[in-house]
């Protein structure tokens, strides 16, 4: 069974985000970039499926600038077999990303497509669902467990009230939540080997997709900061303040 994993290059999650002074966006100049954490979980899940003998080949795809090849190489070092880079310097929004991925799905015909549930930059939580809609596949979003059985996959999903398990026909789309697995680190020998793994590059035009964005960002601002309040001496003072000053109890 072939598994396709989509990964995104984003700001490293440890970096403190700063809004540009002209309010046009977030400052990404000279900032450390990395694979989106939810995408790391997607790669790890695919590798575990291969280790279990369920997956036979893992293809990793990323959409973005030339530098996104670093994240593809990272995925190859973690155990993916082959990479596809859809190279563009333009901003690609979720719907257009889903259309590009649909074109890749049509070429590669994977049985399972695994994506992170959202990227930590735009926080949209859309691409996997949109890809599933465009390809007519079932979707197991926010997955905490993925079990492939014959021509079906059972996905346990993290929902607001607890957990829900759904059964999907293959091919299907799965998006990962935090507790699906704990991603491994790439070993040095595997990082070296990853450099020799095949990586194809193509453009959105090669895939016949128009990536012109539908949403325009008018401005980006820093959030209103909260001021520290007062320290209270003891519990009695706290309860008094909550009752008589803040009037919230």
């Amino acid at each position: 069974m072939k598994v396709l994993v989509a990964v995104k290059r984003v700001i490293d999650y440890n970096v403190k985000v700063r809004v540009k002074p002209d309010n046009t966006g977030v400052d990404l100049a000279n900032v450390k970039m990395a694979m989106n954490p939810f995408c790391e979980i997607a790669v790890e899940e695919a590798v575990r499926l291969k280790e279990k003998g369920v997956a036979t080949e893992i293809v990793v795809v990323s959409i973005g600038p030339k530098a996104a090849q670093e994240q593809i190489r990272t995925a190859l070092a973690l155990g993916a077999d082959r990479g596809i880079h859809v190279e563009t310097d333009e901003e690609v929004q979720s719907l257009e990303a889903a259309k590009l991925l649909k074109a890749v799905v049509e070429k590669e015909e994977p049985k399972l497509v695994i994506l992170g549930k959202q990227s930590i930059d735009t926080d949209n939580n859309q691409t996997g669902q949109m890809l599933a809609a465009l390809t007519g596949m079932g979707q197991g979003t926010f997955a905490s467990e993925v079990v492939v059985e014959g021509e079906k996959v059972n996905v346990t999903r993290e929902v607001d009230g607890g957990l829900v398990t759904v059964s999907l026909n293959l091919p299907a789309v799965v998006t990962t939540d935090l507790r699906l697995n704990e991603p491994r680190y790439a070993s040095l020998p595997n990082i070296m080997k990853a450099k020799k793994k095949p990586l194809d590059s193509m453009s959105p035009a090669d895939l016949g997709v128009d990536v012109a964005p539908r949403l325009s960002t008018l401005k980006v601002e820093a959030p209103a900061s909260r001021q520290a309040g007062v320290k209270v001496a003891d519990v009695a003072e706290l309860v008094d303040k909550l009752k008589n000053e803040a009037k919230v109890i």
Binding site: Q126, L134, G161, V164, T217, L218, V220, R226, A228, V239
Partner: protein, 313 residues
């Protein structure tokens, strides 16, 4: 153009978040219709008809929608939604699941998790886990939008008298089916909509100690939450997690107990009206956002809090 709001419910009762989403739709202007899609959900349709300011309620009652499978719901909503200028749903796990699918079927972008309506095509939403706030404008004919419920004051759930229409037929994509669910049972209010939330962090040391918080929560009618550290340490289940990767809450009162205040946690609760922090480390970052800070050992302070509250409540 009118607005279609997709009701959030469990087939028997309407979820509070629907009232917040209707409020967001009202901020756009125009008629607001509400779709209740589910199975044996007639009572929800009746409840939705009583929501203040709703024009019409559509009820699609069929087994295909009983478990809110995104594959089926999105076919229904994209079909009905063609007649509307906007489609709004709560940005809970149900809305996040089916709404992008609706958008893709309509070939439009989705605007996720809005916290403010600027105009009929311009919305404000947090990005980078709330570390930046973006104002975005849509050029699409239909705006598919998910709404962060806590960012909008709810409309009244009573007083309306909308007409109720039945949507016939069922749209079953035939690619997915429900297997099972494990939903947490609790008499306490839902974390996402509670007026008061009391959360514990790694400082609680173990799951049993959360009983101290539960006692206080029951006095206050509060929900109990937890930081990611407490969830990852296995103290409590993950549906209690407040934070960037858990639930976003904005209650009237948020009490953080033994929580240091990692960015990931602050992203989930810093819109609360009043924040109280109880922590023995006076350098803990949580105190930088707390309106009232108490530097104390939680194992002494929380039982005292329970006693003091008994006196005044």
């Amino acid at each position: 153009m009118s607005i279609l709001v997709i009701a959030e419910h469990d087939n028997s009762s309407l979820k509070q978040a629907t009232l917040n989403v209707v409020a967001a739709a009202k901020a756009v202007g125009g008629d607001v219709d509400v779709l209740v899609a589910g199975e044996n959900c007639g009572a929800v349709g009746e409840a939705a008809a009583k929501i203040e300011g709703v024009n019409k309620v559509l009820v699609a009652d069929n087994a295909a929608y009983g478990h809110f499978l995104a594959e089926n719901l999105s076919l229904l909503v994209s079909d009905l939604g063609k007649n509307y200028g906007h489609i709004f749903a709560a940005a809970g796990t149900t809305g996040k699941d089916f709404m992008p699918r609706v958008a893709a079927l309509l070939d439009v972008a989705q605007i996720s998790d809005i916290v403010r309506v600027e105009s009929e095509d311009t919305f404000v939403r947090p990005i980078y886990a709330g570390n930046a706030i973006a104002t975005v404008k849509s050029s699409d004919g239909i705006k598919v939008v998910t709404v962060r419920p806590t960012a909008f004051d709810p409309v009244a759930g009573e007083g309306g008298s909308a007409s109720v229409e039945t949507v016939d037929g069922a749209q079953d994509a035939g690619v997915s089916s429900f297997v099972s669910e494990q939903l947490a049972e609790s008499d306490r209010p839902d974390l996402g909509s509670a007026g008061i939330v009391i959360s514990g962090g790694r400082g609680m040391q173990n799951g049993e100690n959360f009983q101290m918080l539960e006692k206080v929560a029951d006095l206050l009618g509060a929900a109990v939450g937890a930081s990611r550290a407490a969830v990852d340490a296995g103290f409590v289940p993950n549906d209690m997690q407040v934070g960037q990767t858990g639930k976003i809450v904005a209650p009237q009162l948020y009490v953080a107990v033994g929580i240091s205040g990692a960015i990931q946690h602050l992203a989930g609760m810093s819109d609360s009206k009043v924040i109280v922090a109880i922590n023995k480390d006076e350098e803990a970052p949580i105190f930088q956002v707390a309106d009232y800070g108490l530097v104390a050992d939680l194992f002494e302070a929380v039982p005292q809090l329970e006693e003091e509250l008994k006196k005044v409540l």
